[in-house]
């Protein structure tokens, strides 16, 4: 599906992350692109290739889709030099999504770190647009420093609105006016996460170290592994489970995932 870049926002002070807002060239493509928060799509730049990126906008935001792109490889480096008005492509939506059918009527705590926050942004915006469908909502989000937090204006707005518990944290800062938490995500999770309950679900998405150290915290709090939801990454090409690249056991992360409960992951070969 061909799209036009409508807006580019540099998100972080290191300029490695930019959010691209795309509008579809064809109205029918826009209507066909019906996604759910947690899914991803392949961004396509002719001459360079495709790259799988989580969808940062919520299905409740109409008329455009947003992706936050880290400058890493061939396609993303090129994208960082593109301008508003340039034409590129989107193939998707792909993969599964956070289990909204299950999460309705439940407490949700979102635990995110670094730039893996994009599909979590989609999820927060989605839940806020459907606020009465969820019980308590908490967001624990950390980055190395204040300047590396994504979506800072929105974080502040969510905090101010007060209908979700925002727990923003940084590993460290020399900013004397910093009014949020200081500490790693697992530490803040220990202090701020709601108590375990069959009706409380944790969505965890972040760098491997954060996930590794957050899990024992959730275990200590008593979260069941069916109530911990992870989103995985892998090198991908086709995005529809046929090119054979992103498997863990007999599951393809692109098609059967990227969202898996920790319980499901426990029963898959350890190749993450």
């Amino acid at each position: 599906m061909p799209v036009r870049i409508d807006e580019i926002v540099t998100e972080t002070e290191d300029k490695m992350l930019k959010t691209f807002k795309f509008v579809f060239l064809n109205k029918e493509d826009e209507e066909r692109f019906q996604h759910k928060a947690g899914q991803f799509a392949e961004l396509s730049v002719t001459g360079k290739g495709e790259v799988p990126i989580g969808i940062a906008s919520s299905p409740t935001e109409k008329g455009y889709v947003k992706f936050t792109v880290n400058k890493t490889g061939l396609v993303t480096r090129y994208m960082h030099n593109m301008k508003v008005g340039d034409i590129m492509g989107i193939r998707g939506p792909l993969g599964n999504w956070y289990p909204w059918e299950t999460l309705e009527g439940k407490n949700v705590v979102i635990i995110g770190g670094g730039f893996a926050f994009s599909t979590l942004r989609a999820s927060i915006v989605y839940m806020l647009a459907n606020r009465d469908k969820f019980k308590e909502i908490h967001v624990i989000y950390g980055s190395r420093s204040p300047g590396l937090l994504l979506y800072r204006d929105e974080l502040a707005a969510w905090e101010a609105a007060g209908d979700i518990g925002m727990h923003i944290t940084v590993d460290g800062t020399d900013d004397p006016d910093w009014k949020y938490n200081i500490g790693f995500v697992p530490t803040i999770t220990e202090k701020k996460a709601p108590p375990a309950d069959p009706d409380t679900y944790a969505i965890v998405c972040g760098p491997p170290a954060m996930i590794r150290f957050t899990q024992p915290v959730l275990d200590n709090l008593g979260y069941a592994h069916d109530n911990i939801i992870n989103s995985l990454e892998k090198r991908m090409k086709c995005g529809i489970g046929i090119c054979g690249r992103c498997n863990i056991g007999d599951k393809y992360v692109c098609k059967d995932g990227p969202v898996f409960t920790l319980n499901a992951l426990n029963h898959m070969p350890g190749e993450k």
Partner: protein
Amino acid sequence: MKVIKIDKNQWAEGLAKLEGSYRMFGPVAVQGKFPEFRELEKGDVPNLDVPNTHLSAKSVVYPQSEVMFEYSLDEHIEDHHLLREIEKDYSPRAVFGIRPCDAAANLLVKRNFDSKEYRDPYWADSFESCVFIGHACENPGGTCFCTSVGFGPFNEDGLDLLLVNSGKGGFLAKVITDKGAVLAKSAGWKTEGDAASIESLKKQAEAKMSSKVNTDQLSKKDATALFDAPFWEDIGFACLNCGTCTYSCPTCWCFDIQDEVKNKSGVRMRNWDSCMYPLFTLEGSGHNPRPQKHQRVRQRFMHKLKYYVDKYQAGVQCVGCGRCVKLCPVNIDIRTVCEKMNSYQPA
């Protein structure tokens, strides 16, 4: 089912007749090169005397490199930077001399490319355009083990016609499908043949199979236990990660997608890829879930002999053609690996 007798002259005449209405494929022996399976050029005849080709016949349906889209990067052109579909030739193809193992492999691979969820148009349209004229193996090779994985030297799965040598350059042809019957009719092959002699030749060929592999326990094993089994480092120790096994395999289907640009025009294409290469899973962050060679070797065997078995409940993803056994430069043998997996009991 009908059996037709084709003598040497009728065979040559039939091929000539078919040339006009089919794109012709088959094994070709070129002096100084390994026999290869490819589209026949004018004047080529399928050489059915050659044993199984080094590379399987999968390239007929699934070329090693295939362009999917083209585009222009020239901003003076209206649809610049937009993908354009490429016109493909899916006119009927006659695939002569495909061995029963390679024909059966297409059906195994079809589960990946043509499922209820997704139909890969390039693979499926190609597959459907083919008439497969198989050639039975009277003398199975030493590394062949097709009878152990549910097939055999005279197997008919995935074939439209099966040719059996009847001496003096002639064949007995078993008509398996309507597509096969149509082709035989267009070729003018119609003399009734003797079905009983095919049966006896089949029994003789099966009796010559020297390799036997057990696969009966694979579906009952726990995938994570097999994954964690202690033998993988041993199995992968000598592996060079050359990828010969995956390229020669008729059931390996993994592909890569790449863009190629020359001046202002470019294509997006797909190419066979191999899970033996570290780049196959290397992520943008630098993380690689399979950085070590024994992990990649494990992936290949686990995919064929366990993940596929679990996913489709229809046997292993292997037709026993024996190519990877014969061609592996360090003698890694899927038959040995399969036995290890099949008999593995976690401590």
